[in-house]
């Protein structure tokens, strides 16, 4: 793996973000608007003596942005190259798929950290709530669980797009949102409908959100929850990498990879 080739893709990401308003809006403006809207809802709830529920909502919304922005960066980042008919150019250079994906993951994490800092600042100023209330160690650990999950889902989506073409490109920015209501983002797992709890238990972010809420209320680290999050992430990671490899291979075998840009 070459650090310079990873740097090359990161440089492309940086230049692209500089020149592309959509990336700025999708990665920062919409997420911040969501935080503000949910913060206002939480203010309303505080007024009705539901302080902890209000904090859960704001905490969930800020942390969700980590999943969103990494997923968006990894999956949609490649779409910009496909839409420009430049992805083939990249892959007829010595660049490897793992270098390319690593760069997009790093880029996504950098955007997520930046967004987290800005969103938290907005939250502190407007709603007097800081995500640091859950403690730096829990914040870092949940960030890792979210980042790994977002990356796993994104590469699976990218594999599907490489294999079945850009007609399913919308999945690159939409599929991840399916997990928002299912992963107990804004509310405790126990308050979800019984059947959906089984689904939630299969998703790594559920455990990270639960751990974050536990830390907010109890001030302690829920190691077992975080452990489950990491374990499930490992399963998702392996499964999605294998799925991506197979889909990418099929895409090159059927000629679809080249046709995506024709």
């Amino acid at each position: 793996m070459s650090v310079r080739r990873i740097y090359a893709v990161l440089m492309q990401e940086f230049f692209l973000a500089l020149h592309t308003l959509e990336i700025f809006v999708d990665s920062f403006i919409f997420p911040l608007l969501s935080v503000i809207i949910f913060g206002l809802i939480s203010l309303y709830l505080i007024g009705s003596d539901e302080t902890i529920a209000a904090q859960y909502i704001l905490l969930g919304m800020i942390l969700w942005q980590v999943i969103w922005v990494i997923s968006y960066s990894v999956a949609t980042g490649s779409m910009w190259n496909i839409w420009s008919k430049n992805l083939s150019n990249m892959f007829v250079s010595p660049l490897t798929v793992s270098e390319y994906m690593s760069a997009h993951f790093i880029s996504g994490c950098a955007k997520a950290v930046l967004l987290l800092v800005i969103a938290n600042a907005v939250s502190m100023v407007m709603f007097h709530f800081s995500v640091l209330s859950i403690g730096v160690p829990v914040l870092v650990l949940t960030f890792i669980v979210f980042a790994a999950f977002a990356f796993a889902v994104s590469i699976a989506v990218l594999g599907l797009i490489f294999r079945y073409g850009t007609r399913i490109a919308a999945l690159s920015w939409s599929l991840i949102t399916v997990f928002q209501p299912l992963a107990a983002t804004f509310y405790p797992l126990a308050d979800m409908p019984h059947l959906l709890q089984y689904v939630a238990l299969l998703l790594p972010p559920t455990y990270a959100f639960e751990a974050a809420r536990y830390s907010l209320v109890q001030g302690e680290i829920a190691w077992s929850m975080l452990g489950m999050g990491f374990a499930l992430d490992a399963v998702y990671g392996v499964a999605c990498v294998l799925l991506f490899r197979q889909l990418f291979r099929n895409s090159r075998d059927t000629g679809q990879f080249a046709r995506n840009e024709s």
């Binding site: 080739r5 893709v9 440089m11 230049f15 430049n86 007829v92 250079s93 010595p94 059927t254 080249a258």
Partner: protein, 304 residues
């Protein structure tokens, strides 16, 4: 010495054979043209040679090494330019080139980029967004990108498609210059027969995935023995037509004063002497020798 060896290369899609076990090589400093009608397998072959489409059988060897097991080393020493791929439209020319310079691990990227921009007269467009360039300017930037790593092999897929004749000519001159200066080996696909005749040392005709002809452009045109002799006559050409009919020489009348005679090249003096002997007043003579396009059409039509 071959820098590229293709042996029994095979590609099938769900039972349909796109490339049927073709073999060829590319020598150092050689330009080989890959020709064929639409659907002949040219682009599929190029995609397999670049690794973006997988082959089902046979082997591709660059610099004596298997491409599948030595992908990175091979791609580091080669490059590609295609009319069908563009660079990232939302980046400037320089930004795009910087990205590729890093991908190819260049030692002094900025110097190399500046040199190439100057050589291709694109310095003034360095900070222009790629998508706002004209197609000719884009082609030049694509060529700059393809030369960043000083490749030993260049795969060019219809690089002059959609260019105006002037820019296309400049592009071809550049290809010729590169071949002379650096012994660059080039595999070149095009639908433009004049281009192929001008720059290629050898031509491979593909049809429905098979190599149907493989030779120098000169030898390929010798496959067609007949030449068209076009005579314009002042007196209406009645005498000339009678003379040709008496000698059972086939001809076509184009209007009243032009006669096109299909004959072997060696018989042209005899026909002209005969025409002069009967007193035909010839005001213009045009000899149309067979071109690569005629060979192409013959092969394409024969195969249909």
């Amino acid at each position: 010495m071959s820098v590229l060896e293709v042996t029994n290369l095979l590609k099938t899609y769900r039972g349909t054979t796109a490339v049927n076990g073709i073999s060829f090589s590319l020598g150092k400093g050689e330009i080989v043209g890959l020709l064929g009608p639409n659907g002949a397998g040219k682009t599929t072959t190029i995609h397999m040679l670049l690794g973006i489409t997988l082959h089902n059988g046979g082997s591709i060897r660059y610099f004596g090494q298997d491409f599948v097991t030595h992908r990175e080393e091979s791609l580091q020493r080669m490059n590609a330019a295609s009319a069908f791929n563009t660079l990232q439209g939302r980046l400037t020319v320089r930004e795009n080139l910087l990205v590729f310079a890093e991908l190819y691990l260049l030692k002094n990227p900025k110097k190399k980029i500046d040199e190439l921009l100057a050589r291709f007269e694109m310095t003034e467009f360095a900070h222009t967004l790629y998508w706002s360039l004209s197609s000719g300017q884009r082609t030049r930037v694509n060529l700059i990108k393809s030369l960043l790593n000083d490749p030993e092999i260049l795969l060019m897929d219809e690089p002059t498609a959609s260019l105006d004749p002037d820019i296309a000519d400049k592009t071809l001159s550049l290809v010729e210059e590169l071949k002379r200066e650096r012994e660059l080996s080039i595999l070149y696909t095009s639908h433009n027969m004049a281009e192929i005749t001008r720059i290629c040392d050898r031509v491979i005709f593909l049809d429905r995935g098979n190599i149907v002809a493989h030779d120098t452009p000169q030898n390929l045109t010798k496959r067609i023995s007949t030449t068209t002799l076009r005579l314009t006559v002042a007196d209406g050409g009645g005498g000339l037509r009678r003379y040709l009919e008496e000698r059972k020489q086939s001809y076509t009348s184009v209007g009243d004063s032009v006669v096109e005679i299909l004959t072997e090249e060696s018989r042209i003096p005899e026909v002209l002497f005969g025409a002069s002997h009967i007193g035909a007043t010839i005001t213009d003579i045009e000899i149309k020798k067979p071109t690569l396009e005629d060979v192409f059409l013959q092969i394409a039509r024969t195969s249909v």
